[in-house]
Amino acid sequence: MSVNETRGEAMAVGPTGRSRLFRGQTAIDFYGRRRLGLVTSLVLLVVTIGSLGLRGLDLGIDFEGGVSWDVPAAEFGVDAAADLLEEQGVSTDGARIQLRSSESGEFVKIQVEAAEGDRAEELRALFAAAAGVAVDDVGVNLVSSSWGSDVTAKAIRALLVFLVLVAVFISIRFEWRMALAAIVAMLHDVVISVGIYSVFGFVVTPATVIAFLTILGYSLYDTIVVFDRVRENEARLAAHRAPFADVTNISMNQVIMRSVNTSVSSVVPVVSLLLIGAGLLGASTLSEFAVALLIGMVTGAYSSIFIAAPLLAVLKGSSPEWRDRRWVRAEGEPLRSMVMGGLPAGRRVRDDDETPGDSRAVADAASVLNHAPRPRRKKRR
């Protein structure tokens, strides 16, 4: 079979949902199911706000300060300190255990959250016993935060400036409705990630804040990739009578495979960090970081398709250029043909339309533009 024969011939539509997904031939009505995503997110948001109100966040030693013990390290080590804390039921999440040495000798510095402050003296005695020294030789001190409110204030100021500039940038590159939708989706991701920290009581450390910032960037990135496709289809369909819901549906079906692939590719290394790094090799700092990133990546990919895109469809649907589109949105085979690169064909108009004849004419015009090319005449020999 020669290659020439297959050229220009459209690929057959896959028989199963999976094969259609792989071939980019899906015809999922994302727009029709937009409420599903919005309601799911609304529920998550309510849970988040409720949890933040009731439980708040468990801020680590870097934010709230804590207690510090200096234990002579002659017969004591970092691992022994971690074991002792665990035996006593003191969480080592966000705790900082270091071996320090100076001219006066080596000692282990153990710093934990302020919540354990009441037990400072009790633990001091335990540390002294474990290290085989007198209680007075174990120094105990209150530690301030190292991440002061000024650091937070500066970070927030930077974020606000960033949000304004991103809004301006997307507005210039795309349009303001896309900027609004992208920023709403981003805030949604960050709020939900914070909510998960609150619900599960994870300790918030500076690394967590960094993870949240990563989520923010990832979410915006993902949304912009999706919106770029929307804009391309918008230009393609602008001259036709199809509603913006069609543009949304076509774009989402076209990018779904990319979103799935990218999400899987990005999540695999993070899951590996979680399972291998934290699980088997036992590094607890890694696990909390990986959890935050995992949540952020999943919500980032989800929100682009289920929050940003439907929001954009609603905003655009009521915009002057798209408000008066009379056709109902395409589903099934017509949608599939458009996803695969075809143009909109004649379709039923919305019930509230007063001039049915109008759309008929345009539909004809569209199909005239879209007819198959005239077969070339065979050359005479």
């Binding site: 970092v78 071996l99 100076s102 301030s144 960094i210 990739v225 692939n261 590094a283």
Partner: protein, 445 residues
């Protein structure tokens, strides 16, 4: 498409990256690791007099700002008991650490009685009335006889001193803002000196730090409203150090280094090893998936990721040595996330290529078109990341700043690899394929 230009870009970029990596490896110039991964040196500072908690917190913030303005990135500064503990990443020797944290001090403002070259005669020194002192100037050439302090550096707004150039004369000067509650103190001193009062016959007002006259400007006006300009025959270096002195003087209390300690990493070397092993396994699994899915063209992803990794390593090594921005555990994991973003540029490109091939184009025809539209997408999305990192780097402090730096670096590396490596690699590869097997589609597609 000009094949020679494509080969040139492909080979040229790989050679440049390989050369950079080679130089970095040969000179053992690798990224500086953060406190949590590599430990560092810690200096314990103690206030010279008893102060309240609030002042200690102020000192903590001032020290951190000063360290960062001196280019010492991500120091961990906190109050412990009555001491201030400063942990410095990437600093190896103790003398360097002690010098680095010597940023606090009390600046006093003292009227000048007279200044003369060389030392002041011992007879005169003995007969000095109480409160008067003979102090050397910063260059050591002169000795000034100064009256009792009329105020401290706290009359100036914190961190407001900055070196400037006078636009008309082109001379260096220092501007500093007055605090609202410091204005009266400063103006009382200035008025006395301007009038040539007995307490200040020379009309000069000395700025003293550590018993050295840092500068003794002549007062040219009797009162100042919000800011003060200090002019003179300064060099740029003198102006910068004077500005630093004025900013240092804002400390409410002086602190002294008590002792220096070396600190072990908190996360431990097994954390870094765990992160690296887990990262390698994860990336390998992901690449295997991509090879199975995209078949032949996935070879570009594998090669591209290697090139990207080498670029990031070289950039990180260079930047962390040049700027002292250490790579912490947060940074390492941030890079793992960046892998996801980098992989996305390939996936967007390959999916587009698949669409075009399915629509009936040959890979040879589809590749340049696909790249063009993909490049627009990637450029827009990556520009937002670059913007984010630039703003966060500019406006924030501490570990947020370090994060921003590495986010920016990895994103720029992504853009460079995408345009200079992936584009020629995919277009050249596609030009040798006439059917969909290139992107994992069947021969018929």
């Amino acid at each position: 498409m000009n094949r020679r230009a494509l080969w040139g870009s492909l080979i040229g970029f790989v050679l440049v990256v390989a050369a950079l990596l080679g130089v970095n490896l040969a000179t053992e110039n690798h990224p500086v690791l953060g406190l949590d991964l590599q430990g560092g040196v810690s200096v314990i500072l103690q206030p010279t007099e008893e102060v309240g908690e609030e002042d200690l917190d102020t000192v903590r913030s001032l020290i951190r700002d000063e360290l960062e303005s001196l280019g010492i990135a991500e120091p961990d500064v906190r109050v412990e008991g009555t001491n201030i503990v400063v942990d410095l990443p990437g600093v190896k020797d103790q003398a360097q650490a002690l010098e680095a944290v010597d940023v606090a001090g009390i600046v006093t403002l003292r009227p000048v009685l007279l200044c003369q070259p060389g030392a002041i005669s011992p007879e005169l020194l003995e007969s000095l009335p109480a409160g008067q002192e003979a102090l050397p100037t910063a260059d050591g050439l002169q000795t000034c006889l100064v009256g009792p302090p009329g105020g401290t550096g706290e009359v100036f707004a914190r961190g407001s001193a900055s070196p400037q150039i006078d636009q008309s004369s082109g001379r260096w000067l220092v501007t500093v803002d007055l605090r609202e509650d410091g204005q009266a103190v400063w103006n009382a001193l200035a008025a006395a000196c301007f009038a040539g009062d007995v307490s200040c016959p020379s009309r000069q007002l000395a700025i003293v730090l550590d018993d050295v006259v840092q500068s003794a400007p002549t007062v040219n006006q009797p009162s100042f409203s919000t800011g003060v300009e200090i002019t003179g025959a300064f060099t740029e270096e003198e102006v910068r150090s004077l500005a630093r002195v004025l900013n240092r003087g804002a400390f409410p209390v002086d602190v002294e280094a008590q002792r220096v300690e070396t600190v072990s990493p908190t996360a431990g070397s097994d954390s870094l090893r765990a992160a690296i092993i887990a990262g390698i396994v994860g990336v390998a699994v992901m690449l295997l998936g991509l090879v199975l899915y995209y078949r032949r063209i996935a070879v570009v992803v594998v090669a591209g990721l290697v090139v990207w990794g080498a670029t990031v390593f070289s950039l990180a090594a260079f930047v962390s040595q040049a700027t002292n921005y250490a790579l912490s555990l947060a940074g390492v994991t941030g890079i793992i996330v960046a892998i996801g973003v980098t992989i996305d540029s390939y996936i967007v490109l390959f999916e587009r290529l698949k669409d075009e091939v399915r629509a009936g184009r040959t890979p040879r025809n589809a590749a340049p078109r696909s790249f063009q539209s993909t490049w627009r997408t990637i450029l827009t999305a990556d520009l937002v990341s670059v913007m984010a990192s630039a703003i966060l780097f500019w406006l924030s402090v501490g570990s947020v700043k370090g994060f921003a730096l590495y986010l920016g670096l990895t994103t720029l590396a992504d853009l460079a690899v995408c345009y200079l490596f992936t584009r020629p690699a995919v277009i050249l590869m596609a030009s040798r394929h006439r059917d969909g097997r290139l992107v994992g589609l069947g021969a018929r597609a």
